[in-house]
Amino acid sequence: MTNRFVWVSWNRHKRAYDAVVLGAMVLYLAVFTGVSIATTEAAPDPMVLAIRATGTLAIVTLHIILCIGPLARFSDRLAPILYNRRHLGVSMFCVALLHAALVLLYYGGFGAVNPVEAVLLEGRSFASIDAFPYELLGFGGLLVLFLLAATSHDFWLDLLRPQVWKWIHMSVYGAYALVVGHVALGSIAGDDRGSISFSLLGVGFVVVASCHLVAGIRELACDETGKRPLADQTEHPDREGWVEVGVVDDIPEDRARVVCLAASTGAPPLRGERIAVFRHHGGISAVTNVCAHQGGPLGEGKVINGCVTCPWHGYQFGVEDGQSPPPYTETIATYRVRVEGRTVLVDPKPLPPGTRVEPAFFEASPHDERLFEDPDVERADPSVDESADLPLRDKEPDA
């Protein structure tokens, strides 16, 4: 029953997300077109209007995309926006492609030279700002966006490994730079557009940059202030290199405390690996903080149906064995744990991904039980075999 319910609501989220994205894009185009028509006496050229509407929509969406990552780190209320952002990326690529196609057709067509050459090269010079083919910058940006859109499917993620894939994804910042150059050297520098566009481009850059800066600083501050404490790795004769994580009571039920190992090389502030230490059904288990899907922060996730559930896209890994429930095959590294009194200790040497580790049980104190229950999330019926309920998550083609 839980299974069925969850399946339907997964569909609903994605559909709702896409509907909102589509609706917002239609809203933008309608307002842009409507205001343009309402404020000119002669009717605007419909093709030029479409070129401008799609071009500006694409760059506005690009700014939103660039801010989602850091914004989602400010508050987990923004998690729903992060969840399906690849669809936002693909949508914006489609809008930019339409913009480029209309330009090639209208400005590049009907002439003696082929449209691509006409738009990108004819009569241009790389030596001068005035004659610089700013369209070429847009073209470069579009190529990068194409690369992202084309590799967005989880098939590529598996093939390229998340690290490589994420590297490719970082080129979105290159696309951003190219597109800003495209507009700055194009319409804005050419006096075609006025002060509003110019200031918006500046404001956009400031917003994107400060989102990233603030998110980065907070991330570092987390490690410093003990929200993610640096594990105490000072030699302890009887602990054989195991590190102290804190006390059981620091960890909410079904949630984790993240510890940051000191980097194996280099001095602080270099950080080493992060371990997410979960508390579940009176036991403590530790897994890597890095999700096998796209590196999401598992320690900000929650144990649902006995599985650590990633806050980004909901991939699940058994809290005891780091294995995704069948039919899924992803695995994450686990760590050995033990509890002394109420102090939690972790062996910092990761075990091979998918290695089962018995949870370290501790004695329940009177106020432990159900104190951290979350009324909002469907919980598994304890009478049901948990593993039967697990294969819920989306592994459908995603983009």
Partner: protein, 261 residues
């Protein structure tokens, strides 16, 4: 702190939306959409003027007058309220010089031309209709019942320096709006290299812009290497030195493309 955190709902994409996420979205989404609409309106208001270009639609009409081929093919009519000089261009991004080099004898003749009119600020142009099985060729020499009127031509003795923008006359006069500016640069370059006559638009404050048909120093149409030198200057505000003159109702400017090297 731990308690506060655990009481918050946890979002999983495929599970039910926790209440606190739902409340947040219900408040944030309308605000975000309103901001988006505001941004769209701001960007729309910030667009350059669309201009007053006009391009006739519907069936092609017939225009009668005297044709001259240099510097560019022009039809001079006397029928209307004021004499008018129409630049002659083909469909697409092509001038009509090629058509008329095959019939040099037509220079100065009285002709009938089937086409559609473009105009802006009193500057006029005809896009010649293509050959049509039922209607026949679009250009016909008329029997000279009266002598053709040669158009007014003159040239000033002294060179002047003007500041303005080189546009392709077809888009600017109405084929595309606004048909000027850097956004339109690639298209204007394509048009002008395809033989559409280049025109210098000189603006002085709020006064009506002044238009100059650009020719080479000998008063002939710009072509070949002279034209290539011009191409990177298109759609930018530039200074041009040349000798002004008149051809019918058009102002002309004889320029030495070498000044741009």
């Amino acid at each position: 702190m731990s308690e506060e955190r655990s009481e918050r709902g946890f979002y999983v994409g495929y599970a039910a939306l926790p209440r606190r996420h739902r409340v947040f979205l219900l408040i944030a989404l309308p605000i975000a959409l309103a901001g988006l609409a505001l941004g769209a309106a701001g960007l729309a208001l910030d667009q350059p003027d669309w201009g007053t270009g006009f391009w006739e639609t519907g069936a092609a009409r017939e225009f009668r007058g005297t044709i001259t081929l240099e510097p560019y093919p022009v039809l001079h009519t006397t029928g209307g309220e004021v004499p008018a000089s129409y630049l002659l261009v083909e469909m697409g991004k092509f001038g009509s010089a090629d058509r008329f080099t095959k019939m040099p004898e037509i220079d100065g003749a009285t002709v009938s031309i089937r086409g559609r009119e473009l105009h802006r600020d009193g500057r006029r142009m005809i896009e010649i209709d293509p050959d049509h099985p039922a209607l026949g060729p679009p250009v016909a020499v008329l029997p000279a019942d009266r002598p053709a009127v040669p158009p007014h031509r003159e040239n000033a003795p002294d060179a002047v320096t003007l500041r303005g923008e080189i546009v392709d006359s077809k888009c600017y006069l109405g084929a595309m709006k606004p048909g000027a500016g850097r956004g339109h640069k690639a298209c204007a370059t394509l048009c002008i290299s395809g033989g559409i006559p280049p025109v210098l638009v000189v603006r002085d404050g709020d006064a009506a812009p002044v238009y100059y048909l650009l020719t080479d120093p000998g008063g002939e149409g710009l072509s070949g290497s002279g034209l290539s030198v011009l191409l990177p200057m298109i759609a930018e505000q530039i200074e041009v030195r040349g000798t002004p003159g008149h051809l019918g109702s058009w102002r002309t400017l004889r320029i030495d493309p070498g000044q741009f090297k």
